[in-house]
């Protein structure tokens, strides 16, 4: 039973149509504070059961938000349901006690619970039993007993009420049954009135109530205090009728005691329930045998309904009346429930404050945190400010104290620094002039070099060691040593002398000894340059020249350079940075050049070479590597080499000395003027006609401009230059001619090709490092799916044959050393397994360079490529070549970027989707795909020169010697042009070829003239001998093409293009060219130029002579140059000067001036040109006399004596001086390093 109820509570009565809510103060005299009736959705409540809790909850919460209901947290439900069963039960005393009180509450509860099946005809196992005492009674056998009113309330029914209350944050203080509520409202009780007890026996008024059946958690017996009922006529029974929307509650009350109570469901028809009520009334009368007066009182909503009251009278045959006051109110049940002392509910279902509590706790916690944070922040701010103030004050005090301490001595360090700077400059200058001698005796020579002592002493030493039959035939003297050409009697004497020269007292061991020759030696002055890099530093030793990469080599190179030690260190630091693969800053690049150029001319190359020592490799041959490397690798390697400022300097020096290379670069610069400083551009433009004409002076004028370019700009220029494959090949050819620079290039190629720097086999271009299961691969014991490749120290997937990471099985690329994630398709770093940035990762340079170049060349922007989106797994690293990989990347990149029209695969031009014309977006040109002619976008022919990009072709063609006035530009077929660079040399040639074709007209091959049997070209009128291929006249006689009017029309063009190829057309013997395989539709075509060059090269090969020698053509008897394949003019060729001079002397005796000789008609077959004897000279004289028309060609008189041939054995040596002598000579002149003042010594250093 509830304890005393206090405070305010909501009293809720639920019906199927609506909900009554009253706010009442609890206690002895409940007061109504507020009330509300809220309609409920149909079906939300049926017969007291809450079927739609959400709807009811929503309505109840809405009521709770009203001002009169706000802040009320308790609730009492009055349960109106026919599911609640009610029965009056008599329980007999089981222990033989005679008094009623002997049936105590505990016993009562047990008895009621045990016999519930007896009391109720239905299953009540899931019902809660609630009882209240009626009074003492006697059992049938006369034993004392107790009567109780017992209710059975379904648990499921009340559970819904608790859920509703919990959801609304309310505490259920009681669930009352409507019958009990009415009893409370009516002031009636189920108990026997008190005065009845007094009559029979004295019984206490207060009885214990039963504990709810099945509610084990009930915390003790509930008690019901039966109130005294109002005074009634003891013989009158009052039938209270409480009609509600769902039910009709009938309560029979006599003498304040409720004798019977029934709840009847109300039917659809009003009044139906009264028929049932009449039956209940009849039953009451029968059971009670009560013939006393019964009257009906209608309560609640029906109290004011006169028609209903009349219905009651008519049907029940009872006098009926309505009531007022509490019972006449709609909220009479709520009023009764407020005073209830019974609880039909279960407290275990009561979790009223759980949500609320949790919510509120959280909110309070939140407030606490906020408050704590604010307080903490304030405390922290003010606390810290105070602390900081103390700290700063302390520091300021310290600062002031130290300032005072420093003031009197503040200038000491500065004075020392000034002195030290002054002294260092003094010492540096001294050393610059006189050099230094290190502790180990190593001499660093200064600029002052007077080797006179050395020369004098070596001459004296030679006097003592030369065999009597040997002599010095030529002396060359350089600052670092002497070159000697020595003639010996025989080879044995030469061997003796070479041995003696190795142990000179005043000279180092010879750095060069030429081959032995007979009669003539190598010029002594020609070997002097070899002395520069090999000047030994140690005077006492005769060891071999320093090895590459040694500091000795560098110090030798710096010797006499005029660079201070600091500057030398600076250069060495830059070289070290380069060899470590680090990128130099622009300042470092330019500084390198400045310092190198500060050295004397002859020292610059040695310095640059010495500083390349760490980036040189002599383990491979450059030609071998070039034969194996892909074009991409070569380009990348060359580009890398150009990042080495020392190599760049060496290359630039080579290029400046090579007119062909310089000319090619100039041509490139003409097209790519944006790469050059403004002044250079203007100068090139002004000199272009002379450059095209091959004027060497024009090139020389430009050299200073290029030399003054920033290193960075030069590097950019060359990198752009080598993007063209032909240009790259030209550069490589130039490098290959320099043995030292070749080693540097080899270093970068080896790095790019990932070869072993210490040497090894060079894989072919197609021989990728793919695993071969049959060779060299080993099983992996711990992983049967893998093979181990010991050569590359990598693992190979057995099934796919791909290189993979051992753990993750991601693809591994040997070429880049990167992994490819199979899922994300991205490239990973093999160490960190993190994705890399392919666009900027140096390991991807070999690919990205080409891809970027290609994309940019298409007029797109390579910066727009999202490299992370590229599918790297689409690349088969095992089978695809480097080029294939790049093609695949290009395709993907282009697919990613390109949203434009279809591209013509042959020309690379866009195909206009509307017209089908080829279109170049860069120039705006449209090309007819069938004719190759220039058209507008509607397909109408246009003059190409009206398009700005094409207008620049005219001056270029003009500069190249083509008469542009005669060009039919609209007739040019543009399909084969290189659209990436419209003004490229290749395009100019193609245009020129078409121009010639235009001018000669027609097309086709040679015709066989039936009359002459000669091949004939009807366009030029030329005849060709079908057997020899040479140009002949109509009679088959050879003609001189240079003097043939028909041929001469092509000659200027051919000469121009041959000049670009480095061949002087004036040297060509045109009569020897085989013209059968030429393209006669265009004699000046590119193909013809190539064929001409091929023939020239073929003739030059000879197969019998060394390159550069002169040989005699066995077919013609002409003297030929094996290098150029051209006819040699003896009158001007220095190699034949001795012979020509001797011959001239002989010819003078017969009155012939050698300058009048026509050398073209001389047959040199059988003549010894290297060592002509008497017979040889006589042969030549006779031919010349015959040529001059002298009778018989016989030599008049006696043939002059031929000077005796020198048969001595010659060799040439280069001997460096010993540096130690230098010091002595300078000291003799009063210049000594010893005179340099000592530096002051600090106390701490003593």
């Amino acid at each position: 039973m509830n304890s005393k109820l206090t405070g305010k509570a909501l009293i809720v009565q639920l019906g199927s149509r609506g909900m009554r809510v009253a706010c009442m103060s609890l206690g002895k005299s409940p007061k109504l504070r507020g009330s509300a009736y809220v309609p409920l959705p149909e079906g939300s409540v049926e017969d007291g059961s809450i079927l739609q809790p959400e709807a009811v909850e929503q309505e109840l919460k809405a009521v709770m938000d009203r001002p009169e209901f706000r802040h009320v947290k308790k609730v009492i439900f009055t349960l109106c349901s026919t599911q609640v069963l009610s029965e009056a039960v008599t329980v007999r005393s089981m222990n033989g006690r005679r008094s009623a009180s002997a049936v105590d509450d505990k016993m009562m509860e047990k008895t009621l619970d045990t016999n519930r099946d007896v009391y109720f005809p239905v299953d009540t196992r899931n019902c809660r039993l609630v009882w209240t005492g009626i009074g003492p009674a006697e059992s049938e056998d006369g034993s004392p007993a107790r009567s109780v009113q017992l209710w059975a309330v379904p648990n499921t029914l009340i559970a819904g009420y608790y859920s509703l209350a919990n959801a609304c944050g309310l505490t259920v203080v009681a669930v009352d049954y409507c019958g009990n509520s009415f009893a409370g409202a009516a002031g009636a009780s189920f108990a026997v009135p008190t005065h009845h007890h007094k009559k029979k026996e004295k019984k206490p008024r207060v009885r214990k109530s039963a504990k709810a059946a099945g509610d084990e958690s009930a915390d003790g017996p509930t008690a019901v205090l039966t109130e005294d009922v109002d005074e009634h006529d003891e013989s009158e029974t009052v039938l209270y009728l409480l009609p509600d929307t769902d039910f009709l509650l009938m309560t029979f009350v006599r003498d304040g005691q409720i004798l019977r109570q029934r709840i009847l469901a109300r039917g659809a028809q009003s009044g139906d329930e009264l028929e049932d009520a009449r039956m209940v009334l009849e039953l009451y009368k029968t059971e009670r045998l009560d013939s006393g007066h019964i009257r009906a009182v209608v309560c609640g909503a029906g109290a004011q309904d006169r028609s209903y009251i009349r219905s009651v009278e008519d049907i029940l045959y009872l006098p009926a009346e309505g009531t007022d006051g509490v019972l006449g109110s709609d909220f009479c049940l709520c009023a009764g429930a407020a005073a209830t002392r019974l609880d039909f509910g279960g407290r275990t279902l009561n979790f009223p404050g759980k949500q609320s509590f949790v919510r509120q706790f959280w909110q309070y916690g939140f407030i606490a945190v906020g408050a704590a944070a604010l307080v903490g922040a304030i405390v922290m701010y003010y606390g810290a400010s105070t602390s900081w103030g103390f700290t700063l004050d302390g520091l300021e005090d310290t600062q002031q104290r130290l300032s005072l301490e420093l003031a009197p001595i503040s200038g000491y360090a500065q004075n020392w620094d000034d002195y030290e700077v002054y002294y260092n400059r003094y010492a540096s200058d001294w050393q610059t002039l006189l050099g230094t001698v290190a502790e180990d005796g190593t001499i660093e020579p200064g600029i002052l070099r007077t080797y006179n002592d050395n020369l004098f002493l070596i001459l004296e030493e030679l006097e003592g060691m030369l065999p009597t039959g040997a002599s010095i035939t030529e002396i060359g003297i350089a600052p670092q040593g002497v070159g000697l050409q020595i003639a010996c009697e025989d080879k044995l004497q030469a061997a003796y002398l070479i041995l003696a020269l190795r142990s000179l007292q005043y000279g180092e061991e010879p750095v060069y000894i030429s081959n032995l020759t007979v009669g003539q030696g190598e010029p002594a002055s020609g070997v002097l340059s070899l002395l520069v890099p090999s000047v030994a530093a140690d005077s006492g030793e005769t060891e071999a020249p320093p090895t590459e990469g040694s500091s000795q080599s560098r110090s030798s190179a710096f010797a006499g350079s005029g660079l201070t030690n600091a500057e030398q260190d600076e250069l060495v630091a830059i070289a070290d940075k380069v060899s470590a693969g680090k990128t130099l800053t622009d300042d470092e690049l330019n500084r390198t050049k400045t310092l190198i150029r500060k050295a004397p001319d002859e020292k610059r190359r040695p310095i640059a070479l010495a500083l390349c020592d760490e980036t040189s490799n002599d383990k491979y041959s450059l030609s071998t590597l070039l034969g194996s490397a892909s074009i991409t690798q070569r380009r990348a390697a060359f580009s890398e080499m150009m990042g080495n400022p020392f190599a760049l300097y060496l290359f630039a020096e080579l290029a400046m000395d090579d007119p062909d290379m310089l000319g090619t670069i100039m041509g490139f610069c003409f097209v790519h003027q944006d790469l050059l400083p403004e002044g250079v551009t203007e100068k090139i433009m002004s000199l272009m006609p002379q450059l095209v004409a091959g004027n060497a002076n024009a090139l020389n004028e430009l050299i200073p401009e290029f030399e003054n370019m920033d290193t960075k700009d030069m590097r950019i220029l060359l990198n752009e230059f080598i993007r063209d494959d032909d240009n790259l090949a030209d550069c490589e050819g130039l490098v290959s001619r320099d043995a030292e620079l070749s080693k540097v290039y080899v270093f970068y190629l080896v790095s790019e090709m990932r070869l072993d720097p210490n040497g090894g086999s060079v894989p072919g271009a197609s021989a990728e490092p793919t695993p071969d299961p049959d060779e060299g691969l080993r099983e992996v014991p711990s992983d049967s799916s893998l093979l181990y490749d010991p050569e590359n120290d990598k693992y190979v997937d057995k099934e796919s044959g791909e290189y993979v990471d051992r753990d993750s099985k991601d693809l591994f690329d040997l070429r880049t050393g990167l992994l490819i994630d199979r899922k994300t398709k991205r490239l990973l770093d093999p160490e960190t397994k993190e994705p890399i940035d392919p666009k900027n990762d140096p390991r991807m340079a070999a690919y990205t360079w080409d891809v970027k170049s290609y994309i940019d060349g298409q007029g797109l922007n390579s910066f727009d490529i999202d490299w992370d989106k590229l599918d790297w797994t689409a690349i088969n690293w095992r089978t695809m070549s480097q080029e294939d990989i790049i093609d695949e990347l290009k395709r993907q990149s282009r697919d990613q970027l390109w949203t434009g029209p279809e591209i013509d695969p042959k020309t690379g031009l866009e195909i206009d989707p509307d017209t089908g014309l080829l279109h170049d977006p860069k120039t705006g040109a449209y090309i007819n795909p069938d004719t190759g002619r220039m058209v507008d976008k509607d397909g109408n022919p246009v003059d190409p020169l009206t398009i700005p990009a094409f207008a620049q072709l005219a001056p270029l063609m003009s500069a190249a010697g083509v008469d542009t006035g005669s060009i039919d530009w609209s007739g040019i077929d543009w399909r084969e042009m290189d659209w990436s660079n419209l003004v490229s040399l290749g395009n100019l040639r193609k245009i020129a070829a078409q121009v010639v074709s235009q001018q000669t007209g027609g097309s086709g091959g040679l015709e066989l003239d039936p009359q002459t049997g000669l091949l004939h070209d009807s366009r030029t009128g030329l005849y060709i001998d079908p057997d020899t291929g040479r140009l002949v006249d109509r009679n088959g006689n050879p003609i001189d093409p240079q003097n043939d009017p028909a041929f001469s029309q092509f000659l200027p063009m051919l000469e121009q293009f041959l000049g670009l190829a480095g061949v002087d057309a004036g040297d060509i013997d045109w009569s020897r060219i085989d013209w059968r395989n030429m393209d006669w539709s265009n004699p000046a075509s590119n193909a013809n130029i190539q064929e001409l060059l091929r023939q020239i090269a073929e003739h030059s090969a000879g197969g019998l002579v060394q390159s550069g020698d002169i040989y005699v053509d066995r077919n013609t008897g002409h003297l030929m140059d094996s290098r150029t394949g051209l006819v040699v003019n003896p009158a001007t060729d220095a190699r034949l000067s001795t012979l020509v001079n001797t011959l001239g002397q002989v010819l003078a005796q017969v009155g012939v001036n050698i300058n009048a000789v026509n050398w073209n008609n001389i047959d040199w077959r059988g003549i010894n040109i290297s060592n002509p004897g008497r017979e040889d000279l006589l042969n030549l004289v006779q031919q010349i006399m015959a040529q001059q028309g002298m009778t018989g060609g016989e030599f008049p008189g006696e043939f002059p004596e031929i000077p005796e041939q020198d048969t001595r054995t010659y060799f040439t040596v280069a001997i460096p001086y010993k540096e130690a002598l230098l010091k002595a000579e300078l000291e003799r002149k009063g210049l000594s390093e010893e005179d340099m003042r000592e530096k002051l010594i600090l106390e701490g250093e003593q």
Partner: protein, 209 residues
């Protein structure tokens, strides 16, 4: 809105408190801390600098008073070194130099005027240059040797044989060729000294006579 505030007033209050705490931290505490850290770092660096300067200056206490005089001595030493070099050589100087060489070498010398080449720039701005003179000679082998020896031992001028060609006729014992001589010159601010040439008898009434 009223209902919202009524229901969640505690949350709103807590948020307000937190916001106030955040403002306190962000607007007052953090800037103050940054300023403090900066001041502290500045003072610490100044103190460290001062301490370093004190230590550094004390290190040189022993040589104070000597550095200035020592610098003067270095200057004198440098000038003493420079005194071994000649200065500018105009054409008349070159003629005199060749005459000196003729006397030194004992042979008549044919030459062309030389040109100066830059060798080095010294730290005090002095420029080391060389006058390159090519002289043709014709002498005996011994004469050639003597020429070289005299150049090596000459204490007046600093001259080096840079290049040399020599052809020798055994029959006449004649060594002929050319010498490229490098005569070192140092420009260090000295005044040009006009050569003192003994004047011949001068004065004519007809310059063509």
């Amino acid at each position: 809105m009223k209902k919202f505030f009524s229901k969640y007033w505690m949350v709103i209050l807590a948020v307000f408190l937190l916001a106030a705490a955040a403002v306190m931290v962000l607007k007052y505490y953090k800037p103050a801390r940054v300023e403090y850290e900066m001041k502290k770092a500045l003072l610490n660096s100044q103190i460290a600098s001062l301490q370093g300067q004190i230590v550094e200056n004390k290190k040189y206490e022993s040589v104070q008073g000597r550095t200035e005089s020592e610098q003067e001595a270095l200057k004198e030493s440098r000038l003493d070194l420079y005194s071994h070099f000649g200065g500018e050589m105009k054409q008349e100087d070159q003629i005199l130099y060749v005459l000196y060489l003729e006397e030194l070498l004992g042979n008549e010398i044919y030459f062309s005027f030389g040109s100066e080449v830059n060798l080095a720039m010294l730290n005090d701005g002095s420029e080391l240059k060389a006058l390159v003179i090519t002289v043709n000679y014709q002498t005996t082998y011994q004469g050639f040797k003597d020429m070289i020896k005299n150049l090596a031992t000459d204490e007046t001028y600093l001259t080096s044989v840079q290049n040399c060609t020599l052809s020798y006729d055994a029959e006449s014992d004649t060594a002929s060729g050319s010498l490229t001589l490098l005569h070192y010159i140092l420009y260090y601010g000295q005044e040009y000294e006009t050569p003192d040439i003994e004047a011949p008898e001068v004065g004519k009434t007809n310059i063509f006579d």
